[in-house]
């Protein structure tokens, strides 16, 4: 399953809920304001690093770049473009947007 999170982890609980309820081996794609969670020194960095043991974490490159965060991505987070976003949706049998 692909989980899509779009809100900043310091503003909403959606990342926490997603990480709590995603099954092992699932993919989590951070888009829009959620990309801040995937950056070094950020408030959610430890959560993302811990989650990497069981989940594949992706972040949308254009959203990182638009926020000045392209150079601060945590190690192990896969940065994808919109083509990669489309591929992730296609590769997983279902997806959930944590609105």
């Amino acid at each position: 399953m692909l989980h899509i999170v779009n809100k900043s982890a310091t503003e909403r609980s959606s990342l926490d809920s997603c990480l709590r309820l995603a099954t092992k081996g699932s993919a989590v794609l951070l888009i829009e304001d959620a990309v801040y969670a995937a950056t070094k020194g950020g408030a959610a960095a430890a959560k993302i690093q811990a989650a990497q043991a069981d989940l594949k974490i992706y972040a949308l490159g254009p959203d990182l770049a638009a926020r000045g965060m392209a150079g601060r991505v945590l190690d192990g987070v896969n940065v994808v473009d919109y083509g990669g976003f489309v591929d992730l949706v296609a590769e997983h049998s279902n997806c959930q947007s944590w609105l």
Binding site: S17, A22, S26
Partner: protein, 131 residues
Amino acid sequence: MSDMDMEDDGSGIVKKFMFLNRKAPHGTVYALEGLEVVLITAAFDQDVSLVFTDDGVYQLMKGIDTKGIEVKDFSKTYRALEGYDIEKLYVDRTSMEARGLTEDDLIVDVSVLSDDEMKNLMAEQDVVISF
């Protein structure tokens, strides 16, 4: 809305639809308009699971009285869901307990799910729509 019983997309396909209610009622419109989608989906004879998690649990509070804020009280609709053949109502235990609530506080009978049960239920769905 009895005419909705006749809805059919002609394909005969039945998919598993999960509606994940994550927002409190009234502060935003998502809970109310989300419920409308749930009712229509059931009218298409799909396999509907209605799940309340995070602040969505607050949608099910007993004793809701909206007269003072002059908006529609749609919480009564949850008690009528059986009439729409929507019988799979679930509440996320972690979210419920984090809000100091128990099943006795809720307006309808629900199955209370552990994190693992929530995970498995979500993973087996064809379509997940979150409001």
